[in-house]
Structures are given as C-alpha cells and as structure tokens.
C-alpha cells in the first residue's frame, strides 16, 4: 500500500514538474486557431551575429493534409520586438513532419517566438 502511495506521490510530482517545464518551454510558441498542428521540437543557435532557429512541425491529423501559415518574431535583449518574418504558407501531409529553418537578418537578437496560424475548417 505504501508503495502505491509513494508511486502516486512520485507520479504527481513528476506531472507537476512536467507541467512547469512545459509551461516554460512553450514561451517560444504561439498557436493561433485550431490545434491541428503541433510543434514537436525547436531550438535556436547563434551563427555569428545572427540567430538561427529550427522548428519541427507535425500534422497530427490522420485524415487530412493541413495548410497553414507561420511567422517568427525576433526580440532584442530588452524584450522589444525588432523584426518579424513575413507569414509563410506551408503544407504538411497527414501524419507527417516538416522542419523549418529561419535566420534573422539583423544582429543582436536574443529571443524569438514561433507563431503558427491554423485556419478554421
């Protein structure tokens, strides 16, 4: 019984930690509209003066090809938005993943946000 109780406690703590960590990492992502697309992983690297990001987008729908748009916002060290990419259209077939890579054109960018807009059906 005590083992079960411990397991439940561990599970609860793990869930809380996961929830907190997910909450922190999601600050770079904003999905607008229906959640038919997921950003499964993303990261940023510094190339000289410029920030480069990679994001892996997945169409989780089993039946339909998804067409949607995405944009990257680039932020400076003060948290001011310095630039945005144009919205870009992308199509992903059902249950497929696509990797997108974007690089800022201006120096001194320290943060970013990936915005995905999925149209309502």
């Amino acid at each position: 019984m005590s083992l079960t109780k411990n397991s439940v406690m561990s599970l609860a703590i793990s869930s809380l930690l996961l929830a907190f960590s997910t909450g922190c990492t999601q600050k770079n992502i904003n999905i607008i509209g229906e959640k038919r697309v997921e950003i499964t992983k993303y990261k940023s690297v510094q190339e000289g003066n410029f920030m480069k990001i990679m994001a892996e987008l997945e169409n989780t729908d089993n039946d339909n090809t998804e067409g949607f748009v995405y944009q990257i916002e680039w932020y400076d060290k003060n948290g001011f938005i310095k630039d945005t990419t144009p919205w870009k259209a992308i199509t992903i077939h059902k249950n497929q993943k696509v990797q997108v890579i974007e690089m800022t054109n201006i120096p001194d960018i320290v943060d970013y946000k990936i915005i995905v807009s999925v149209p309502n059906k």
Partner: protein, 204 residues
C-alpha cells in the same frame, strides 16, 4: 421657468442634430465606416496566382538569409562593398525585379554585414552631385565609387501549365554574387515557388 425649459429643449435638440451629422469613428480616423481597411502587410496573399507580395517577401527573406550565410559575406574581414546590377525578368508577366533587389538590399544593410554602392541606374545622379563638388581629389574618389568587391545579378523565370482542372505556376528566382575583377561567381542560390489554382468545377 418656462424660458429655462425652452433652452434645455433647444440644447437637447441641437445636440441630437449635431451628433446625427458627426461622422463615425473617432479622433485620427477618416472614412471609418468605408469599405477600405488596413491589413497585415506581411500576410500570405493568395488573391491570384500571379507573382505577388508574399512571393516578393519570401524570396527576399530566403535569398538574404542564404547570402548572409555565404562565406564571402559571413567570413569577410570587413563588410564587402556590393553593387546591385540588373535582375532579368524572363517570365511572361510584368515583375518589378528591382523591388526584389531593393528589399534584399534593405535587409542586407540592416544586417551590417554588407556595404552597398549606388546602382548603375543611379550613378548619373551620384555623378551629377559629385560634379557640384568637383575637386582635385575627384579621380581618387571616383575610383572608390567604382571599386565594388562584388556585384549581384540574377534572373526570374516562370513555367506555367494548365489543363481544364488545374493551373500550375512555377517561379524560380536565382541570384549570383560575382567578383567583377575575376568574373568568378562566388555565391548563387535560388528561391522556388509553386502556386496551384484549382479551377472551379461549378458550371452550367
């Protein structure tokens, strides 16, 4: 007492009339209730399959990123001097290719990684300005103006195909970075765009 009541009624009627005549909207707004609205300048536009603002923006973005990553720009000791030359429009539609190169130039200048010399098209104006201040140093200065490390040229091409159901347009924008002294092409990249229009099957 009756006079006060009359004045109140007059003021109320005047206020109603004035409000009725006032245009909709508020301070700093004209034509608020018209059909004209401002949109997101960076939104994806699919009004027709012709070369549009989205194609211009995505082409400039992609080719600028590629150019900034090229070792002749990224690893240069100091920002190289570049001059834009003509980008040829080899499609069947009117495309303002200067809009593409101007956008790329703005992005590259903002990056601080490249310096630009005046276009050949604008050189006459630059020369006119210089002649106004002509001096003994003019020849040396002229040399500085002519000394570009690289020039950018390119082509825009398109292939169109259609049947009774689908119209397909493929655009290819290619740019080259050329060393004008040696003629060596040190960087080249392309942006490909495909636009598919499904023709309406509804008909009589």
């Amino acid at each position: 007492m009756k006079t006060i009541a009359n004045i109140s009624v007059s003021i109320t009627i005047a206020a109603i009339l004035l409000n009725g005549c006032a245009p909709k909207g508020g301070a700093g707004m004209v034509g608020y209730d018209s059909n004209v609205k401002y949109g997101d300048a960076k939104a994806v536009e699919t009004v027709t399959a012709d070369f549009g603002s989205t194609d211009l923006q995505s082409t400039a973005e992609a080719l600028t990123q590629s150019l900034l990553e090229s070792r002749y720009i990224a690893k240069a000791q100091q920002p190289p001097k570049v001059r834009l030359r003509t980008v040829n429009n080899m499609t069947y539609e009117h495309i303002d290719t200067k809009a593409i190169t101007d956008k790329i130039r703005i992005k590259l200048l903002k990056s601080g990684a490249v310096r630009f010399l005046a276009d050949t098209a604008n050189l006459n104006q630059v020369n006119d300005e210089r002649e106004l201040t002509a001096s003994a140093t003019a020849i040396k200065e002229n040399k500085a103006m002519a000394d570009s490390d690289f020039i950018i040229t390119g082509n825009v091409r398109s292939i169109k195909k259609a049947n009774e159901n689908v119209q397909d347009v493929y655009y290819n924008v290619s740019l080259e970075l050329v060393n004008p002294q040696s003629g060596e092409i040190v960087w080249a990249d392309e942006k490909e765009i495909r636009k598919v229009t499904a023709k309406s099957s509804v008909g009589w």
